[in-house]
Symmetry: C2
Subunit: 339 residues, 2 copies
Amino acid sequence: MGRRVKMVAFGVGAIGSMVVRHALERSYWVELVGAVDSDPAKVGRDVGDVVGLRKEVGLTVSATLDEALEGREADLVVHTTSSFLEKVTPELERAAEHGLDVVSSCEQLSFPYYTNPTLAERLDLLAKREGVTILGTGINPGFAMDVLPAVLTAPCLNVRAINVTRKMDASNRRVPFRRKLGVGMNVEEFREAVRSGKITGHVGLGESISLLASALSWKLEEVRVGEAQPVISLGKARDLRTAVEAGRVAGVKQTAVGVVEGRQAISHTFLAYVGAREEYDLVEVDGLPKVISKISPCVHGDFGTVAMLLNMAPKVLASPPGLLTMKDMVLPSAFLPSL
Amino acid sequence: MGRRVKMVAFGVGAIGSMVVRHALERSYWVELVGAVDSDPAKVGRDVGDVVGLRKEVGLTVSATLDEALEGREADLVVHTTSSFLEKVTPELERAAEHGLDVVSSCEQLSFPYYTNPTLAERLDLLAKREGVTILGTGINPGFAMDVLPAVLTAPCLNVRAINVTRKMDASNRRVPFRRKLGVGMNVEEFREAVRSGKITGHVGLGESISLLASALSWKLEEVRVGEAQPVISLGKARDLRTAVEAGRVAGVKQTAVGVVEGRQAISHTFLAYVGAREEYDLVEVDGLPKVISKISPCVHGDFGTVAMLLNMAPKVLASPPGLLTMKDMVLPSAFLPSL
């Protein structure tokens, strides 16, 4: 990398703000040249102020990418606006039309050929035509339940089944994250929130299973993603600040399976609730040899997602054009060039 | 992959024989078109016989690659003759001159820019001129102490240090492997065997540290690889077949460190001895966030190496020309195409 990467932060919410703060600490390889957010309360303010720094950075938040790029050159968009492919597609298209590579935390973009093959192919064609690379990544999907399990099969001669469990204690997480899990609701409120779409559960299980199967060249016959189920509080949380009354919802359990050659070859379990006693990322590869891997505590979600975005950025810039997924990328790793 | 990959097994020792047996089970994507070994006791015999199958496969072992390729086309060499770069270089060069991609278990080839930069650059130039890809991989180096730790840093915003430990119970391993560890020697015999080079310890610690640092774009100031140290038997092995008298050598302990910006940023510990109570691959990333990963039992060495060779083969065929290392490759994973 001869010169610094000119980066636009598209989205300065919780994750986007962390991206900006950590990008500013990496001024030896990245230069923040723009910030975009649709929230009128953020537009026009200095980015430093919006992302919670105590200093101005001399760059204001724009309402659109077009405005952010007026009179400026850029290389890369770090995109963090939404989990949903349909919602982000026009934003990704605009970035591609500006000739910018994109690394995005959009969960459904991690394997959009599962979510919406038509949109995925349209984005891939556009990216190739414009000569840009588009990648969806993050901690999950993007690492814990797809990339890491795929890598753990590399030393296997055969694989019969892969079971992946991510278990998180929601006590340690952001308030909006707990709210998305329905923490504190009663069971009826929870079920109603699931029905109305207010609680979506974890977005990305289907994408993770599809990405993992694709990495192994397994042909998936079916992906079954279960509804978010309530985990009921026993009223025993150690942390009074986040304690949940017994009988109310402490968080979410969600499972998904992938069927290959008639059998449940991939099983994913996602658990996030207040008071979970041990946090871990467990991968069990039932193969030759067996590979059983446990990361304990589980990799921190917010740090992990921001790190995946920033660490994959230089690899995205060096990749061939197209809509890529993590299985197409060179070996993921931290990017921490010595000064 | 439209047609089957035509593979030559260069080396049919312990690992090469496993490669052949598993390649023959993968006839839906790989076709064995040749086998080479320098051992006169193997040359001229049917490959099936040499690799311990109960059936002939209609292909005889050749003494040289040139002979194996007479009148035959091939795509790829799976190379398993030696741990040492100088020894394998003429063999790799011959494969490149035949226009064949190479995936090799040669430990020093996993990061030859550490071992011998001059030879590495010569091989890289030749590979590019001939339009072929050369890769060194295996379980270790190639996975447990370099690729996996690198991947585990991907969700980290910062990394202060990486500690990697691989601990193996030598009771479960091949006799030649135990012999290489000096199992059963007295301490004086062991020290003499280390001095004379009869016991080399684990080959690859320096390569693993260099590969890992390179993946993170860390500039290594120094790599210190310690001598193999004897682990002394307490006479308590559970397995009488492999038990070692108390006071004699049960196996090897070896450590290595990589220095970055004046500090020991990478520390590797390799332990292989009869009676080790727990086998594991432990990676501790002291970073933001911390990532502590344990695979228990450790990934089996022989299965792992053969799997890495066969699983990386299609990725090598799809890679750009040159002498590559695992950090340049697309995401490693099992390659198990659905039929």
